[in-house]
Amino acid sequence: MDNAIACRELYKRYEDGKKAVDALNGLNLTVRIGECFGLLGPNGAGKTTTVEILEGLIPPSSGEVEVLGVRWGTGQDQELRQRIGITLQETRFQEKLKVWEILQLFRSFYTRGLTVEQAIATVALEEKANSWVRDLSGGQRQRLAVATALVGEPDLLFLDEPTTGLDPQARRRLWDVIRDLRERGRTVLITTHYMDEAEKLCDRVAIVDHGKVIAEGSPNQLISQLGGEHVIEFSLEKTDGHAVQLSEFRELPPVIHAVQEAEGFLLTVAQPHIAIPAVLEFLDGRQARLNSLTTRHVNLEDVFVSLTGRYLRDE
């Protein structure tokens, strides 16, 4: 068995009175043992529904799920739960319990695992071990949640949006924790709507939109699928905005992909030193004046935009 997670044709429909929402529309996913896998997508794409099905917390409407070689509901749920650790998108532990008390409680659920001290050290909460949950910052609470997932030394770890709502510094500290786990060979499934997070942490990512995986691969593979590694972003003076059409950029030879956004245009190119003069020359010919121009490397957000025409953060 090489796969930690395999699911095929997952469908999930939520019925609420007369309204029915299809959260998943035939989602396929394979996570290999030992990799850090990212589910990347906008809010409402079906990421949380997917992980909660994988965690055995909710049943799918249809489809097959195998986690660590076991199907949920075949009499081995308890054994399987011994082997997985999870954090939910949001868990508020009792405000007036101490960090070590909560970890001792969670440790007692598992037959094997870390000591409470080890778990606290793993998420760098030593200074707060004796503090009430009430007195923890958002980032510290999230690290505590990760510690409760780790304390049973799981073979497979699910982290649902672990850094949402955290400040940059707290995010980076949590990234350190996750990177550390990855280096120790843990299988981690992480969901996020931050493309930089997926790029920095994950061996492979699946981009999810409208309940389906629309692209899958390593961040580099996905980026190289765009054909170019650079993006030119520019905007025109307001009065000149109508002088050019998006499709005209697509016809320029050095441009691989072009997208129009509210502020201006996004062009994916392989060689900026060739593309930029070409673009400038074209604009000059139309007497369209530049308002701004920047270049940067392609990221997963661009991949998402090129696949859907929308932004991750728009949702």
Binding site: E79, R81, Q94, L97, F109, Y110
Partner: protein, 346 residues
């Protein structure tokens, strides 16, 4: 590792969480005690007070006042007719005596108020005698104020029962809904902890609480009002335990679906209201008409209060309370089974 360790850990965490909330500790221990003390004082002092009545101002009023002047059991106040009648309507006086022209008296009183009825008859009696009526025979009054038969004695087991009901339902229901809102239930569901074990620990925590709670109340009542404890401590504890189990089950059932604090509060109040009214906390449940009795007797609090009064005040054996205990256990089992079936974790 056996399944006892996590359950014990959960109970310990619940207890710690509770003891760190000063408000919760007050409402559990302080408030019921204040209620016993307050009601006990209000109702135990009334037996010693005298009969209060008003006399309508006029030439004959003096005679009435003189007639009771040497009798400490009566207190007369002379007032103009409209003032006296207003006092009667607002129960500040029990009877209004209006002397009539022919030397007789007219009594105004409220027949729906037993105290007013009794006062009317007592005032009539004393005035008749002072006017010269001779008793047909000598009667002797024997006062029974032995501990055990006073109102405060009736009240204390009822308040303990009420407290077990409130504590069981709020203590379990509120805690569960709070955990559901915080997504803690879902988080626990994702651990190897077994579901029925978790629900048992919530009920178990409640059972740990009620012992000091009930005995604290009982001991206070014993020390302050000399409320007798005639049954064995074991029998009292057993009855209270079964009652607590039953109401924890009801709390569990109430909380099995609720997603919001407002919802659970509503459900609990609807469930508890009939028992507050009919189950004999402040007055005997037998005062309700016969056709209501089958329903009232089926309510868990009625059975708990009956059994508590029997073991505390009458010293009944546990065995003699098999029926109420059986009814309470039936409630516990049915509620727990239904709650397990319907329980919503997410």
């Amino acid at each position: 590792m056996n399944s006892l360790t996590p359950m014990l850990q959960l109970v310990v965490c619940n207890l710690k969480g509770f003891l760190r909330e000063p408000e919760a500790v007050f409402w559990t221990y302080g408030f019921p005690l204040l209620m016993v003390v307050g009601l006990g004082i209000a109702f135990s002092s009334s037996s010693a007070s005298s009969v209060q009545f008003d006399v309508v101002q006029g030439p004959a009023a003096e005679k009435v006042v003189a007639a009771v002047a040497n009798n400490p059991g009566f207190k007369a106040k002379v007032n103009p007719q409209d003032v006296a009648m207003a006092r009667l309507r607002t129960t500040r006086t029990l009877v209004v005596v209006a002397p009539s022209e022919d030397g007789g008296y007219q009594y105004y009183f409220d027949p729906s108020n037993p105290e007013s009825m009794a006062a009317q008859s007592a005032v009539d009696d004393v005035l008749q005698r002072s006017a010269g009526r001779k008793d047909a025979f000598t009667s002797k009054q024997v006062r029974v104020e032995a501990p055990g038969s006073r109102y405060v004695d009736f009240l204390v087991p009822g308040l303990i029962g009420m407290n077990i009901m409130g504590g069981g339902m709020w203590g379990v229901g509120f805690v569960l809904v709070d955990m559901r809102i915080k997504k803690l239930l879902k988080r626990l569901l994702a651990t190897p902890l077994r579901r029925p074990h978790f629900l048992l620990t919530v009920v178990g925590t409640r059972l740990v609480f009620f012992i000091p709670e009930a005995f604290f109340l009982l001991l206070s009542a014993y020390l302050i009002f000399k409320v007798p404890i005639r049954g064995s401590i074991f029998a009292i504890a057993a009855v209270a335990f079964v009652g607590s189990l039953s109401f924890s089950g009801l709390g569990l059932l109430s909380a099995s679906r609720a997603q919001r604090i407002e919802t659970i509060s509503g459900i609990m109040n609807v469930a508890m209201l009939p028992m507050w009214l009919c189950s004999g906390i402040f007055f005997s449940s037998e005062r309700f008409p016969d056709f209501m009795q089958p329903v009232i007797q089926a309510l868990p609090l009625t059975q708990l209060n009956n059994a508590l009064r029997a073991v505390i005040l009458e010293g009944s054996s546990l065995f003699s309370q098999a029926l109420p205990i059986g009814i309470l256990l039936a409630w516990a089992v049915v509620c727990f089974a239904l709650a397990l079936k319907w329980f919503r974790w997410g």
